[in-house]
Symmetry: D2
Subunit: 349 residues, 4 copies
């Protein structure tokens, strides 16, 4: 089988670099286009990235020589992975969808639109049912699917296996990594020996995206889950890996052992064999002081959500910690897995 | 007036050093004794502390030359400030109280005993009413009073002005500084680029001490407050200053403006003129991204609790962030303020 | 005596903030003007600095209400302290000098010009003899004096007392703080768990400025010192305080005790009583592991150079470590001290 | 071929863990024994290491179940890799050598003994000629070989290809990682926002080991190289990877291009096919701000020395930066490579 040609919109940013890294040697996809802002366009990717490539693996050989294009339809690819800045992502992604591309976006712009799937394959694969609605509504040849924000995704993966127990209330406090703010992102003087207890727009994203992700597909729309969600979001001095302290109310009150078991066994896509699927979706650590970003963010190549400290919460019943890599499963890896699911489901031909 | 002689038990540790720093030039107290473990005893304090003094101000001249004693009664002082390790603090503090000393302790050992005041002057000064009970129960000439744990104290200061609104539920997630673990404390390899989502015993302390502090004095004991408390405690890469994300249920639902006002105006000891009292007990920051440990921990010489981000919580009604210095108001400064209150109330003669 | 009115050019940057902080309650100077880029001009300083003021002390009351002006002559002040970006400092500082202002600049632009004093009061006060030359050359009413770069200044202060021993060779390796790069400066992702062994232009500055500073005034110019200087400059994960490892050849080979004594006794301006003069210009630490930025940068309010580990160097004869605060003595404090010296010498009337 | 059985002395420490990690799936060696202090002996390795395993890869399956032994002969292995504390390594390693084991040690104790090879395979393989001398001198069945200290090794690898140009003088300033101090090692409070310009004994090690490594074998001893070496050693806030600023005098004055070429082409063991040999011994980076520990320490699986900034030094002629992983090529990987060389040379049968 020939590999499907893919392009990266926003290829020079932190998440763009992750796309390129994760797609190196991908069995189904091949990066044929890299697109970025006007001032990078026309130069070779390797040249543009001198001093800007921030990952410790080298730029893949096949991508080094690609000439950077502008972010406009005309690219030679079938799928466009987007990690564009929210300031510009909206109309660009729409233009690509209109022109027939499959846009798998990490940007926030279209996430909450009623006919756009906000997708985590293990959580709400059935929301792909919005695609025909979207195509009809918009008259597009192509389509847009989105993945959630980097702190929401690990939270929701940990919550999904608890839905059967009647999840009704939820409080989460995040301690988020610096790479979540992109590059140059957070100035070192702002975070050395410090915590910043605020990330613009983040609490709202967690509080709204969670409900859509856990909601039910009803013909042409998603009925949001009936869960009360409150989020406190903080930036801490960690390079990669968001850590989240979660308290939940489970109406069925299943007990700690059942909660643990449900998380450990959670692997609804096992049979699909998607290339980027982690073999363990949720890893439950038993050590009292785990998960930790430095130790656990790279488990399953950064595609796992790592849970620990499952215990009783005096307020809501259960509490635990969940951690995951924010630019892999929380961004680029999420969008790639979404595209893999669509391939498998025959939505990309 | 002659200054009251005070001794420091555990004078070589992190909190012991803070005691010495904060008591330099104290208008009421004079450090006349420093006591520590056997292996330090008999040497001059300046000598013992070579390479171990961790504060950026110098050892006060008057303390440098003191000979370190063992931690046993016989010290020439009226008040013994204790920051002994919990492993040994219990019997030592009791021996001092029995021998007639006023023990103002930062150690956890006696905090939850029914006849020992767990005291924050601005919060529960009336709990000093336990002192006669304690003396009678124990047959002591002296007495023990305690201050709460470093994360509890700032939380409870922020909560106290909300009690009038019917505080009934509370969830707090802490991001605690390294100095809270003492010295050598947390190995650098464990925390560089990391978060440790666990501090042994800490969540239990927050969950129990809070209820005693906010409880009512009933003749010979404290009736714990009827509040549901849940705590998540984390260690982060910050030297000093605990940051805490708090959600609260206030039955009277007073609105954000009233909550803010109650905190800003909270200053019940204003008239007493205690030397270590902050002029503002709670400082409410209006900037969206404050408080921050690096920027705000030293406000009011480390004696303030700094609150920010007062806003609505979808789950409990109100949420905010509180931050404070953990070894000043959260430890040594707390014990000193407690002793000052006792002086003012005539309990130390 | 009325205070002399001073203005700050580049008042919103890191060094500009330090100027304002250090000049609060200055006995001779009063900040009457703050100037910055066009987009800040016209607004109140307190308003412009919302979220940008990075020091832990508050903006002084008198400065909060000042309206920010553009960086052009017309300001109501006698002295203009400049911490403008090198990209724009050149012509602006010249315009001020031409218009009659005394410009005390921390910017690099004019440092190496033959008729501009590059000044450290304790090191080369006699270089003020260039001022009449400058005025004559340029036809200016005012004048420009400069202070050296933040790593050079502490190095040269430590070297000056060694000049009598025949300093002929010198190798310095710096480990420089983040605040030296300004704000936003170094992205946190670039420095967390990292060292960057390069700072653009820094090695050249150390290698050239040192020779001018230690050179002799010869009528109308400075004859550079005959010293071979080599510098390695690195950025490390420290907020404030540059640490420098220095090896020197002293032709007279005075022995370690003499070297130490020369540094300790170095205080040539003692009699002048300049307000910002440290009481100890060089502090020599005896502990084997000092100086350290966290522990020693704030000694003498950040105006001291702190030396330690004076020992034999197998290659050049002597080696030691010198450390100092880079935005106080290394920048704003340096420029203020320069202006104080000029006041004392009657150059500012 | 059956794999050679190897044991780890000091298997619970930081370097011990690296040995175990690096030896997982080693083509020639198989870990059959793990030995540590008395208090660990008798328990399963996986059990002993709960909460103490600090690497992000898991403990290899084959090692998890090994029972920890005491550090005394009787172990079922041919080679003993030692990373024992210097306080105890001396007599233990000797006992093993006497009992017939091949001891490949990372400890400092025997490095400078005249009949003990201090070995870097690419640098001084011929020093293995000391082995017969050692066996004869000591009457041992077995033998001890050592690898240099973690900062010396990368320095000397970078210097070796320059020896042909007449290396006569050398000044190195190191910025060393925290893992070099073992675990728990450096307390976080000592290094957060700090540099410690002192590491006990380190400068002496660099200054002496370098000369032995670059010395010539003369029958029964090594004649130290005639090079003047001066070292400044610093601890910085980096987890892994020592960065070193080096100035050298090369009597032949070959020019920058020749120096670069000599380093790039340096690969004297290429033909031997040792399993842990890096394919590039020295990697020369061309970017102006490299090498950096975060970006470059893992190149060649941590076995490369990475050089950058080769440029002229006003003092000595040439300067550059060298960086390498301190617990891989600088410790465990070094000892393993040494054993591989001995295997290849027929010294381990």
């Amino acid at each position: 089988m020939d590999k499907v040609k893919v392009g990266i919109l926003g290829a020079t940013g932190m998440v763009g670099q992750r796309f390129i890294q994760l797609l190196a040697n991908h069995p189904w996809f091949e990066v044929t286009e890299v697109a970025a802002s006007e001032r990078s366009a026309g130069k070779k990717y390797s040249e543009v990235m001198e001093g800007r490539w921030k990952l410790t693996t080298d730029i893949p050989e096949g991508v080094r020589k690609l000439v950077v294009k502008e972010c406009a339809p005309g690219l030679d690819c079938r799928i466009a992975f987007s990690s564009l800045d929210a300031e510009i992502a909206g109309p660009i992604e729409q233009a690509f969808a209109k022109a027939g591309y499959v846009v798998s976006s990490n940007s926030r712009n279209h996430r909450m639109e009623p006919d756009v799937p906000l997708l985590i394959p293990e959580v709400n694969a059935e929301h792909l049912g919005l695609i025909p609605v979207q195509k009809k509504n918009r008259g597009w040849q192509g389509m847009i699917i989105t993945n959630p924000n980097c702190s929401t995704i690990h939270l929701v993966i940990a919550l999904k296996p608890l839905m059967r127990f009647g999840l009704s209330k939820l409080l989460v406090t995040t301690m988020q990594a610096l790479s979540g703010a992109g590059y140059p992102g957070v100035p070192s003087l702002d975070i050395l020996d410090n915590v910043v207890p605020f990330i613009g727009g983040e609490e709202e994203k967690v509080q709204t995206e969670t409900l859509k992700l856990l909601g039910a597909l009803a013909k042409d729309r998603v009925v949001p889950a009936q869960i009360v969600v409150s989020a406190h979001c903080n930036r801490v001095h960690v390079s990669d890996g968001h850590t989240e302290c979660v308290s939940v109310k489970l109406d069925a009150n299943p007990g700690l052992a059942e909660v643990t078991k449900a998380m450990q066994e959670f692997n609804p896509l096992k049979q699909l064999g998607l290339p980027s699927s982690p073999s363990r979706v949720i890893i439950v650590k038993q050590e009292p002081n785990r998960p930790q970003p430095k130790m656990d963010r790279d488990l399953e190549h950064g595609m796992a959500s790592v849970v620990g400290r499952i215990r009783e919460c005096p307020l809501l019943g259960y509490k635990f910690v969940v951690l995951g890599h924010n630019t892999i499963r929380g961004a680029a890896g999420a969008a790639i897995l979404n595209a893999e699911l669509m391939m498998k489901k025959g939505l990309i031909s």
